[in-house]
C-alpha cells in the first residue's frame, strides 16, 4: 500500500508540474514585467507605451548583427499553453504586428534563422526606423533584456520532435544580459 501511495503522489506531482509551462526566465527578470499590458495598445500607440516592461512572443523575420548587439525584426504572435508552450500561428489572426527589438548581448548565429519562434522580455522604447528587406520602416521598438529562441525555422513548436519523417529534437536557448 505505501508503494501505491507513493506512486500516486509521484503521478499527481508529475501531472501538476506537467500543467505548468516551463520557466524560460528567472523570477528576477519577470518581476518587472507588466502582466496586464495590452499589446494592441503598443501597436496602436507605440510611443505612448514607452517605459513599460513587457513579455512578447513572436516569429523572427530578420536579424542583423550590429555594434550595439543583435537587432531582430519579429512578427508578434500570441503565446499559448497548448498544445505546446510558446508563440504560435495557430488560427487566423489579423492583429499581429511587426516590431523590432535590440538585444545587446551575443546570440548564436544559428538561432537567428527566419521563422524561429521567440519570447522576449524587455523595455518598450520610442519607435525606431529600421531597415526591413532593404526599405526603411518605423517599427515599435523594444530593448530586450532576455530572449528565448526556439529553432523551429518556420514550423510550430508543437510539431517537434515529430518532424521530417522521424524524431528530431527542438533546440532552444535562453539569452540574457544584465543591462537591458
Amino acid at each position: 500500500m505505501p508503494r501505491i501511495g507513493s506512486a500516486f503522489v509521484i503521478a499527481l506531482g508529475l501531472a501538476f508540474t506537467g500543467c505548468s509551462h516551463p520557466a524560460l526566465f528567472s523570477k528576477d527578470v519577470l518581476r518587472s514585467v507588466d502582466e496586464n499590458f495590452d499589446l494592441t495598445a503598443w501597436r496602436s500607440a507605440p510611443n505612448a507605451s514607452a517605459g513599460h516592461t513587457i513579455k512578447v512572443g513572436g516569429k523572427l523575420v530578420q536579424a542583423d548583427l550590429m555594434e550595439r548587439g543583435t537587432l531582430i525584426v519579429g512578427m508578434q504572435l500570441p503565446i499559448v499553453e497548448h498544445p505546446a508552450y510558446g508563440p504560435t500561428e495557430m488560427g487566423k489572426r489579423s492583429d499581429s504586428f511587426e516590431f523590432a527589438l535590440l538585444y545587446s548581448g551575443k546570440i548564436d548565429p544559428g538561432a537567428l534563422s527566419p521563422g524561429n519562434r521567440f519570447i522576449a522580455v524587455g523595455l518598450i522604447q520610442r519607435t525606431k526606423v529600421v531597415e526591413v528587406d532593404g526599405a526603411p520602416k518605423t517599427e515599435p521598438y523594444l530593448l530586450a533584456r532576455c530572449i528565448h529562441i526556439w529553432r523551429t525555422e518556420g514550423r510550430e513548436i508543437a510539431d517537434f520532435p515529430n518532424v521530417g519523417g522521424g524524431y528530431y529534437p527542438l533546440e532552444e536557448d535562453t539569452y540574457c544580459t544584465k543591462e537591458p
Binding site: 508552450y85 521530417g164 522521424g166 528530431y168
Partner: protein
C-alpha cells in the same frame, strides 16, 4: 433661334457657372483650411464604389498640390470642359486601377486558402541517395563486388488538418518495389516456398489524432499507422538524417541460413517500422513517453499477415537538456515464425529492453555522441525468410526452420561525430562508430563487431528539413563464427560479407 435652343443654351450656361462656383468654393475652403483634405473620391457614375476597400483620399486642391490641369485652367490655357474631361479620365483610370487591385485581392484570398499554402498538404524529398559499395565478399558469377545503387528514393507528403488532426504522413519508397518472400508455414509441398509479397512502396503511412487540445502536450496525440518505431535512437531517425551510411546491426545482421545454435543466418533484431497504434506525450517539459501496441511483424505486414501476434511497447525519455537525453524502451509480446516477413524471431514469447543516450554539446558546438544497448529473447525455432517453419518444434526434419531454441541476443553501439563549423574545413564532419552484436549470449564464437570511420561533407545542412551531403565510410568488420565449431571463411573475395571490410560512398539530397 428657337425657344428650345435658347433653353438648352441657358441650362448649359447655368451648369458652367455652377461648376465654376463649386470649384471656387473648394479653392477658398482649401485655402482656409489647407490641412483638411477631401476624403471622398470622385467616382464616375458607371463605376460603383468598391465595398471592400477604404476610399483613397483625393488630392486636395491647394497651392502646394495644384495639378498641371488646375494651373492651366487658372491661366486660361484650357477650358472648363477640358478640365472636366481631364479630371474624369483621371478618375476613370483610378477606378480602373482599384478594380484591378480588387480582382488581385480576390485571387490572393483564394490562393492563400490553397491546401499547399496552409500546411494542409506538403511535399518533400525525404532522401535521394546514390551509393557506391565495395565489399570483398563472395559474389555469384557475373556479379561484381563493386556496386552502384540507389539506396533510397523517398518522397514524403504530410500535412496538418487541424489542431485535433495535427499530422498525416505518407512516405513512398520509389526504388523499393521488389518482392520479398514471406516465411512459409510448411516444409515441403506446394506451400514450401514463401509467397512473394510487395509492401515496401508505401513505406510509411500514419495519422495523428489529438483528442483534447488542453491535454497537450501531457497527452499530445494518438498515432496510428506504419512508421519508424520509437525504439531507441537509430530506428527512429529518418534515413535522410543518419550519420553513417550502413544501418547498425541492431536492425539486421548476418546472411545465409540459420542453424541449431540460433546464431546463424539473417537476424532482424529490431524492426524499423511496423503497424501500430500508440499514445505519446510530454510531462513537465522533461519526460517524453510513448506506449502502444504493434503487430510485431515489420512494415511488410502491410501486405501480409497483418493480424500477427501483438506486442506492446513503451519508451520513457528523460531530457537532460533540450537536445540531450537518456531513455529506456521495453517491448514484450509474442512472435510468430510462419507467414511473416520478419527474420529470426521464432515462435513464442518475445521481449526486448533497450537503453539509449545522446549528448549534444553546447560547450563544443558540433560535437555529439550517442549510444544504444539492447537485449532480448526470441521464441524457439528461429528461421530466415523463405525457409519453412511451423511452430516451436525443434526437430527441423519435421517442422522446418532452423530448429534453434529461443535465445537471448544482445547488441550495443557508440557513435561520435564532430561538425566543423569554422575555418578551412568548415562543413566537414568526421564520424566514428563501434558496435557489437551477440546473436546468442549463451554460446561463444558468434560475435559480430564493426568499427566505422567516416567523413561527411555537407553542401547544405539545415536539419531536419534540408541536408545535402557526401558521405565516405570505411567499415572494419569482423565475425567470429556461427557458434562453437562453426567458423566463417574470412578469405577476401570468398567468405562471409560480415567478415570483410567494406568501403562506401554515398551522395544524398534531402529537401522538404
Amino acid at each position: 433661334m428657337s425657344v428650345t435652343t435658347s433653353i438648352v443654351l441657358l441650362c448649359g450656361l447655368i451648369l458652367v457657372i455652377d461648376e465654376t462656383a463649386w470649384i471656387r468654393t473648394a479653392w477658398t475652403a482649401d485655402l482656409r483650411t489647407p490641412s483638411a483634405p477631401e476624403t471622398q473620391p470622385l467616382l464616375l457614375p458607371q463605376e460603383p464604389k468598391p465595398p471592400s476597400r477604404p476610399p483613397l483620399p483625393v488630392r486636395p486642391v491647394t497651392p502646394d498640390s495644384t495639378t498641371v490641369e488646375d494651373l492651366l485652367l487658372e491661366k486660361g490655357s484650357i477650358t472648363m470642359d477640358d478640365w472636366i474631361r481631364i479630371k474624369a479620365e483621371e478618375e476613370y483610370r483610378l477606378a480602373d486601377r482599384e478594380k484591378r487591385i480588387d480582382v488581385l485581392e480576390r485571387w490572393k484570398n483564394k490562393t492563400e486558402q490553397l491546401p499547399i499554402l496552409t500546411d494542409k498538404i506538403n511535399i518533400g524529398l525525404n532522401a535521394l541517395q546514390f551509393l557506391y559499395t565495395h565489399n570483398d565478399a563472395h559474389v555469384a558469377e557475373g556479379k561484381s563486388q563493386d556496386n552502384f545503387s540507389i539506396r533510397r528514393s523517398e518522397f514524403i507528403m504530410w500535412g496538418k488538418v487541424s489542431e485535433h488532426l495535427p499530422r498525416w504522413h505518407v512516405l513512398f519508397e520509389f526504388q523499393s518495389i521488389s518482392l520479398s518472400r514471406e516465411t512459409p508455414a510448411v516444409v515441403s509441398g506446394a506451400g514450401a516456398t514463401g509467397q512473394p509479397a510487395s509492401a515496401t512502396f508505401f513505406r510509411e503511412s500514419y495519422i495523428d489524432y489529438r483528442p483534447v487540445l488542453a491535454w497537450a502536450p501531457n497527452l499530445n496525440f494518438i498515432r496510428m499507422g506504419i512508421f519508424r518505431m520509437p525504439f531507441g535512437i537509430f530506428t527512429e531517425t529518418s534515413g535522410g538524417l543518419r550519420d553513417v551510411i550502413s544501418s547498425p546491426y541492431l536492425t539486421s545482421v548476418g546472411s545465409g541460413n540459420g542453424n541449431s545454435t540460433g546464431a546463424a543466418g539473417t537476424i532482424d533484431f529490431l524492426q524499423e517500422r511496423d503497424l501500430f497504434i500508440d499514445v505519446r506525450g510530454r510531462i513537465a517539459n522533461r519526460v517524453e513517453y510513448v506506449a502502444g501496441i504493434m503487430n510485431n511483424n515489420n512494415f511488410q505486414a502491410n501486405a501480409t499477415g497483418a493480424n500477427a501476434p501483438k506486442s506492446v511497447y513503451s519508451r520513457l525519455r528523460f531530457l537532460v537538456t533540450d537536445v540531450s537525453w537518456v531513455s529506456a524502451t521495453v517491448i514484450a509480446g509474442e512472435s510468430n515464425n510462419a507467414n511473416t516477413n520478419i527474420n529470426g524471431r521464432g515462435k513464442g514469447a518475445f521481449d526486448r529492453i533497450g537503453l539509449d543516450f545522446r549528448y549534444t554539446s553546447k560547450l563544443i558546438p558540433g560535437f555529439m555522441v550517442q549510444g544504444e544497448w539492447w537485449q532480448g529473447h526470441d521464441g524457439a525455432n528461429q528461421t530466415t525468410v523463405g525457409r519453412g517453419a511451423n511452430g516451436a518444434c525443434l526437430n527441423t526434419s519435421i517442422c522446418g526452420g532452423s530448429g534453434a531454441p529461443g535465445v537471448q541476443r544482445r547488441t550495443w553501439y557508440v557513435l561520435a561525430k564532430y561538425l566543423i563549423t569554422d575555418g578551412y574545413f568548415r562543413n566537414w564532419e568526421p564520424v566514428v562508430m563501434y558496435e557489437q552484436f551477440d546473436p546468442n549470449t549463451a554460446i561463444s564464437n558468434d560475435l559480430y563487431t564493426r568499427t566505422i570511420v567516416g567523413l561527411t561533407y555537407y553542401f547544405e545542412n539545415m536539419p531536419p528539413k534540408i541536408q545535402s551531403k557526401l558521405q565516405i565510410n570505411y567499415e572494419f568488420r569482423h565475425h567470429q563464427g556461427n557458434g562453437p565449431g562453426n567458423a566463417v571463411d574470412s578469405t577476401p573475395g570468398v567468405g562471409d560479407p560480415f567478415a570483410q571490410n567494406t568501403f562506401l560512398v554515398q551522395w544524398q539530397i534531402r529537401y522538404m
